[in-house]
Amino acid sequence: MSYLLKLMLTEEYRMHARYSSRRMFLAFPAFVGLFSFAIGATSARLLEVTPLGQAVLMLHVSAFLYGLGVGAFGFLGAQYLERRHGDRNYIVAMPALLPMSFRRTFLGMYLRDAIFYVALVLGPMALGLVASVPLTGFRITSIGFLFLAALLSFLLGMSLSFFVSTLYMRSRIAFAGAVAVICGAFAAHGLFRLVPIETLLPGLAMHYALPPFAPPGGAALIAGLAGLGLIAACVAGALVLVPDQYEPRSKPEGEELPGVDARLGIARGYRILLAKEFVDLKRSGTVAKMFFSFVTPLIFLSFTAWFVRTGLRAPVGFNSVFYGGMVGFFGVLLYNWLNSVDSMDYYATLPVGVPTVIRTKLLAFLVLTTGISTAFVVGVSALHGDVRLLWLALPVMFVTSVYMVVMTAYLTGLRTNSFLFDPAILAQFSVLAVLPDLGLTILSFTVDRDPVFTVAGISLVLAALAIATLFLYRGLDRKWAGSSFTE
């Protein structure tokens, strides 16, 4: 197993490093460490606003959600096994040719990603906090406990995601049932307080039972063991569900493309490419994945806003304009999905350039998301009795969405997931994404105090974003015309 794991780690590293450079890729953990150091160094101010217990809760919820996102090996493995990556093949598919089991390679994938993300994110995060000790006076042991507890939450998210996604490989009904149970458990906490959050996240329970919250004792040990038991049970369940032999589902399809093409006359030169995108999205099941990956952070955001308002009783005015800006931010996730549907190698033989395909994906993004985003902002406004600000919230949502996705397309082209591991691109992305969103968020909080100032400020930000969008959109040709689909 250790030899296989070593090879899989090498494979993963090379896959990521080939899109930027080794140096840039290896700089990613340094970037995370630096960010963590900055958080540590400014923690005194941050903790004035958010008590340590709440900050730790947010850390664990984030680690858990991140793990959920990372661990969907049932989906990823199926993609690898179906060789959906054109001329690329992966070690996980080797049992088809070699005397080894898919269970072994799937376990390898789980361990590989656990190590990979600890080395890339959780480890550097802890080291960044350690580096801030001379400024903060944090105890090294407390940082060690934080690392272990956060790791437990991350691994629980990964394991749960691993289990549920492999369940999907066996039965979609069972998958839907499992998702309903998990959502039900979190809803039981979030909506009705029936289940304490520490019960759902043993890593958090362990953390609350360790310094600086409490002296180490049996409670921490029990929570830790419970967490490890849950993780082991999920991984074991997932491995039992991994099939011995993999046979992709095959069913005949009707000729849909000409019909979709005929209906998209409005898209002019992009018509056939856009039609293909829609057929791809439908048949690959990506539409459902996109929906969940868009809606989940929106629910998380709503939960956070609700928590800040009612749990922390902080006088923060989350209104429709705030949600409009945030919805735009999450559009990046959808653009990433659009680039992950299939390999694009076949485009290399056709008279189609990379910028044209990028523009097609942007069009697909607009068609797919405008409705959902509008519905979310209108729905949240109605729920909060804040419909009066919709006239401002909707333009904010629309301009921010388009800006965010065009900016992401400009920076990452058709390989969003890989390029965002390049610290230089990640740094540019962070500045270009966070600054305007921060501006809009702060302005949204002042709308009731000084409406004229707020509207003028927001209009200015939106105008700047619209101009930036235009420049970035026009720059797509210059930046991506020379790039290849297969390199």
Binding site: E256, L257, I272, L273, K276, V352, G353, G482
Partner: protein, 241 residues
């Protein structure tokens, strides 16, 4: 009378992080010629094909394909030619018929449905019509990629190992088609390991090894005194080992 050149290359070189994949390659291929590029694995055949078809930019050197510079105008080159890549990778979620429809719409092929039906019939793809490409066998995907390259009846074809994965019936059918295609004055640039086929089909060949063209000319000229192209190839490449 000077013949029109379909492909011309001068000093083509491609380097990747310390590795020279192609080293100062010159080529001159007349219109209507059936040209074969042969060489061992990793010799640089696919790299040269990808540069000539605008898929890859050279580190040095220039090329003209049907009078167009593929490095400067890759889309114009791709519009004028047909390409069958080394790896058959049609889009996973389109059916065989939909892929041909897609390619035909991108290339603006007139009377598209007739063209699709012709090539589906030629390669016996009827049963694959409604199957998404992800579920097709390797050989069927190869036939589909060939059909997609022929759909717009280009004047110049670039074929990278076109016979690999094909059954003997379709190998024969493809050979006959390519001979007719060449006889009609069209140009073929083919990379192949199958020296017997190359010897039968090609007017001219070039032998490439470790990124350098080590022999080039008519099949007879490259073969010299050897009994066949395979023996000549083994001598030429073997001398450098």
């Amino acid at each position: 009378m000077r013949r029109v050149k379909a492909i011309e290359a001068r000093g083509l070189t491609k380097r990747y992080e310390g590795v020279t994949a192609l080293d100062d390659v010159d080529l001159s291929i007349d219109a209507g010629e059936f040209f074969g590029l042969v060489g061992p694995n990793g010799a640089g055949k696919t790299t040269l094909l990808r540069i000539l078809t605008g898929q890859l930019a050279p580190t040095h050197g220039t090329a003209r394909v049907l009078g167009i510079d593929p490095a400067r105008e890759p889309l114009r080159v791709k519009a004028a030619i047909g390409i069958v890549p080394e790896v058959e990778s049609p889009p996973s979620y389109l059916t065989a018929a939909e892929y041909l429809y897609f390619v035909g719409r991108v290339r603006d092929v007139p009377r598209l449905q007739d063209a699709i039906d012709r090539w589906i019939g030629f390669f016996d793809l009827d049963e694959a019509r409604g199957t998404i490409c992800r579920d097709l066998s390797k050989g069927t995907r190869q036939k589909l990629m060939l059909a997609a390259a022929f759909l717009h009846a280009p004047d110049l074809l670039f074929l990278d190992e076109p016979f690999i994965n094909l059954d003997p019936i379709h190998q024969r059918r493809l050979k006959d088609f390519l001979l007719e295609y060449g006889a009609a004055g069209h140009t073929v640039f083919m990379c192949s390991h199958l020296l017997e086929i190359a010897e039968k089909l090609c007017d001219h060949v070039a032998v490439i090894d470790r990124g350098r063209v080590i022999a080039q000319g008519s099949v007879a000229a490259v073969r010299r005194d050897e009994k066949d192209l395979e023996t000549a190839f083994l001598r030429l490449v073997g001398e450098r080992r």
